[in-house]
Symmetry: D2
Subunit: 401 residues, 4 copies
């Protein structure tokens, strides 16, 4: 059975892994299959075609790699860059920090642009660096679209504008782990060269697929990139794409069927409706935080994230205690504060296959926990604020009218 | 996939069928098996032993019949009574009405004691009838422990006291469909002769098992009962119990494994903790209803049900519209008002495998729906009232400390 | 986990419950739902329409009753007959015996036509009885299409011819439990008035649905039938059919989705292909039995069953030992000999979602078991005989070409 | 549903991915969970302890990496070696070839010892190389325990003996992808420094876990190994092992529960019984091949593999046609011949959660297919040979006696 049981449904509000829809669980509840039979390549073909839609690309080439987000990062970097290459990258929280650490260990020349945690990527400094880089030493801009640790969404359109303004040929590599399929993301329009996500995030699958999409320019770069790679090498995939067998090594049959089901659900709801739903979730959460008299870790509205909200607690409270009590008393999972914001923030993940009443149950729970740990919240206040907004904004479910 | 899809988790708050715990879903996710192999009888033996615990009986004999609650009723009646036998039974809502209809169609002489819908069984009249029945023409008292249509819990201890007081030998047949495993129920202590429930109620399984438990007196009565029966005949079961093969016809393998898992979860949480949890759910719901300024269909506190709350709406609102909008806009299922209370009440089922945050999400949803249909509710008010109570009463989850 | 584990797949070759296809298991792997929401009636409507196809009827009315085959029998009898009514029925094995027992206990006047076990229904005697029955005292002919205990398929077309020849108005009630969806069955063409099956047989679902189909004549009979019934009463169903809500009491949500998936698979393969596949399975099994030098319990080819083969063992072998060793040593489930043929036959069920290689594995296993118990079988002989036939008769899988 | 449906159970006899036991499927049929809650680390701790048993090591350190066998290879190499390091490795089939390719691309100095495909690793040449390597330029011996393409099992005990004999300090890196948990494997006794397998092989799980086990000597080597690595870096795991949170990035919750269930099943059966069962499967298959008059691709008995048999077909037959027909006509999946043996061999994988009757069904199927493609096989001959052996060697299932 469960390793640790609690009555009722677990309330999963970490920013990943997220809740899997029942139809997806069903699709994955199956025996293994021979991945060299005609069935799996036929299905894979539809997946590669359809997964491009969630990146909003028609020219990109997707790779479904049996790995995690960390592996997807590595795939993006090693296929496009050579050791010693200069990257400009932004340190704004724990996950951008980990990506930077990876870039350094992979022997790139990492030019870090740091912001205070709670602020977005400093694009003014990017502009300066681009302006100064006449010899085009910058080979890639590496940026997280959404920093999961602090609930920050960076403005990718502006990054593209800057690159265009300075006519800079640097590749644009985007970590979309906690954004793609939840936030507005436009690979082609924004000229993103490599975008990536993980299956356990907004796609609402189990962990296990690193989904990477490469622009034609990125594919071109991969031909000369000298970083050592085998498992993550796009060329091995491309070879099998040409053969029509698609897989250089064994994929997870279950995740392929799961991805098929997940995409079907997303298209049935409509990708734009999915994004709008995430926007409602984000707004409702922020309104609740405000009603509780607490601060959002994200310092400006322009960076507000619709997939995760990091909530600052007063200094006399240890935010880890909130997460602990959520689990021990309410069968709810919240996100811890990480690294610089450990103890200072707790995080509500509101991405993936969720609806409003699930979120409201979470918010009601947070209110009780805040009381538990000594914060003088007015019970019901956050829920009331969220409901007042949601009341006017939840659409009917199209298939049910 | 689903027949009609909506994003996120369906919020199932009808008073049955109820939410199935994931470990139970897992246990049932299996191929058929030969029910004549040694494995199924060995498992069945443990089920028959353990299921007695949820009836709080040591002397009863349980039957796991592949049927619904309606079939379980029929089993209780036809195995203990003969055509023409007089029953005293109570009409207090739609489900007691249906049971009475069944009794009449099975040719019993049904002596109906009617109450206004919203009131419990009139035990004063029972007392009168028992007092007057010197020749013991009353063969059985038939009573629903919990009337699911109006959210009424009858006082079975008092019924037993009256029977004892008048030294009346009538059998006591109890419909525990929406009570057993959720409300305090004591088969042996209360001298219940036949108690029954359905798998899809507080046991939190799919529909398909009518679980009937017979006292020694009921078994004795079955020897002379002249009602025609084959499928529901206890004797066929008893014959196979003696053989150790247990099944007169094919059981559902999946439901047997599911029942095994359901009982394991109930015993892990503790039956008394399960009942206490239902009590918390009931109180929290009633506090919310009160905060909304609405009336409980149940007229007196002594009858309040901890498994379902029927909420009266103002005359200018059609309660069916509330149920419809819950489903169409919020992916939530509430119970309709039935028969005499159609359009007047909607019902919140809070039984089975549920926890507090799930209920709070439901209550928040109801608040928005009430606004949708024009009732001037203060958003957050019900949730606040429920939280204020729950805050002080939810225990830690034992396995998590 | 499993109650008793063995390595590898369990080889389930009892004549029910049978192997469930993985897509059906997936479809049933789901939480409960409100059966009064718009979704379940909408799905039910398609089920009632489509289930008629497996009966080959356009004029029949189907009922999906939460019960077993035994309950389906009771439904067929009590809705069409009155106590004291004369039925002519055939005793040819354990399941026809049980049906006769039920008819007697339901107080019908049962006119039993007995055959030696191993022979089909004696239709000559039926002819005599019909010829003699000028006053039409016979109200119903009750016949099993396929006797599961002895592997006998009766000729229903001849029964109809006799009824027509003598212009006899008796109802024709058919137990199709181990035939419908596997053998050629033609409700309308053969003028069957009530046909029934159970979900755990050729439909390859879990136990729990008694599927009963009534002709217009049977429905007409139900209006005047005086047998006492409530749970099994068709009228309650018909009332809810008219309302469009379909269910007089709670159905199993999981079985409804399972039935939807099962029907979809049957129609995808094609009902005629399904029947042809069962014919191949039956022939292959009989060829193996012959090659082993053993006798089929079924005495004439005209009665050979394509869903189950009862194999006679030499007198010095106890057939129960074969079944026991199959389970203990080979993780295989075979059918026991029942009642008169206990110890004398073992049964190979070859119905439901099976393919040829599964059957060949079973046959190879039986060969080893026969050796185990001292029968001088030539190993490989049965498999060789079956393969020689199958080799020329298995079609390509249409979706795979 | 399935992407391509066929009636009955798919017969999966490729040498991976293999059949998943139903209890494992059930264990994985679950929603995501927070991997930072106390539950997942507590479970992970048991996994890391128990997984060592399948390597037969007490001193090794296991890593459960979200990757495939290819990634596990990369992890083994990059954590222990530096670019330019000399490895001695054996080319005996497609998978050893791919590993060599990886070693070359990772910039090691690969000293390849080639054998004819169908022969095992040439250990005489290894002896020569070790004898000649006074200055210990050989940093690692890389060897596949079982070459999946040709069905060859190499003798690791001899490799260890040679290393000891020459007192050579080279690391011994072993690909146990198609051996561990199926063949006799003794990490500690044989002084293996890194052993690895994939979840979709003998562990009978979905693809997605690369399971790598490092000896203390390998861990020591990892401290100075200069190969670039991040995703595959053992140090990141070790850091989190010390913290007790275990995961440097998100694991698959489902695979962890699946691994727990898989290990439980293996220990219930007994690892030695599992290995003995694979030995029975291998022998039975080889006896069938012999009976058919066909040749095993493996040229000497000392190399026979108990997990996969590569069968040579006569020159006038294209082995790919056999695989194609198995799938199109019999719903069976066999392994293709790869690279040098493409068209010349087909492969029967007989590893993982299988039992004897499943294999016999497969063998019967192969016989029919051989006839289909024009090979004059005597139908039943292979099954008879296999049964004659199995008959005397299958033990009773312990839990069933």
């Amino acid at each position: 059975m469960d390793y640790v049981y609690g009555p009722g449904k677990n309330h999963l509000f970490v920013p990943g892994p997220v809740n899997i829809p029942e139809p997806v669980l069903r699709a994955m509840n199956r025996n293994n299959e021979d991945y060299r039979s005609p069935a799996i390549p036929a299905m894979t073909k539809t997946l590669l075609e359809d997964v491009k839609k969630i990146f909003k690309t028609t020219t990109g080439t997707p790779f479904l790699i049996p790995t995690t987000g960390t592996g997807a990062w590595e795939s993006a970097l090693t296929n496009t860059l050579s050791p010693g290459d200069r990257t400009v990258t932004f340190l704004i929280g724990q996950f951008s920090l980990l990506w930077i650490d990876q870039q350094q260990r992979l022997n790139f020349n990492v030019d870090v642009v740091e912001s205070e945690w709670g602020q977005g990527a400093n694009l003014d400094i990017l502009a300066e660096k681009l302006a100064a880089d006449h010899s085009h030493t910058i080979k890639a801009i590496c940026i997280v679209h959404n920093e999961t640790a602090t609930g920050i969404t960076n403005n990718l359109a502006t990054v593209r504008k800057l690159l265009d303004h300075y006519r800079h040929p640097a590749l644009l590599l985007v970590d979309g782990v906690s954004s793609i399929c939840a936030l507005d993301f436009r690979m082609d329009e924004w000229g993103v060269d490599v975008a990536l996500t993980g299956s356990q995030k907004a796609l609402s699958l189990p962990t296990g697929l690193g989904i990477v999409c490469a622009s034609p320019k990125a594919l071109e770069a991969s031909k000369s990139a000298k970083s050592v790679r085998v498992f993550f090498d796009w060329n091995d995939y491309l070879k099998f794409y040409k053969l029509g067998t698609f897989w250089p090594y064994t994929p997870s049959i279950q995740l392929l069927y799961g991805l098929r089901a997940a995409l079907d659900l997303i298209f049935e709801e409509g990708l734009d409706s999915v994004i709008a739903r995430h926007n409602r979730m984000g707004k409702a959460t922020r309104l609740a935080v405000e009603a509780w008299g607490l601060k959002n870790c994200t310092q400006k509205e322009e960076w507000y994230s619709d997939t995760v909200t990091a909530v600052l607690v007063p200094p006399y409270i240890d935010s880890a205690e909130i997460v602990k009590r959520a689990w021990k008393r309410y069968n709810m999972s919240l996100g811890l504060g990480l690294n610089k914001v450990a103890g200072k923030v707790f995080r509500i993940g509101h991405l993936g296959n969720l609806n409003e009443l699930q979120l409201l149950g979470c918010l009601a729970g947070v209110e009780m926990i805040l009381k538990d740990v000594g914060y003088p919240v007015k019970l019901g206040s956050g829920v009331a604020a969220a409901c007042a907004y949601l009341q006017n904004n939840i659409p009917m479910i199209p298939s049910r009218i």
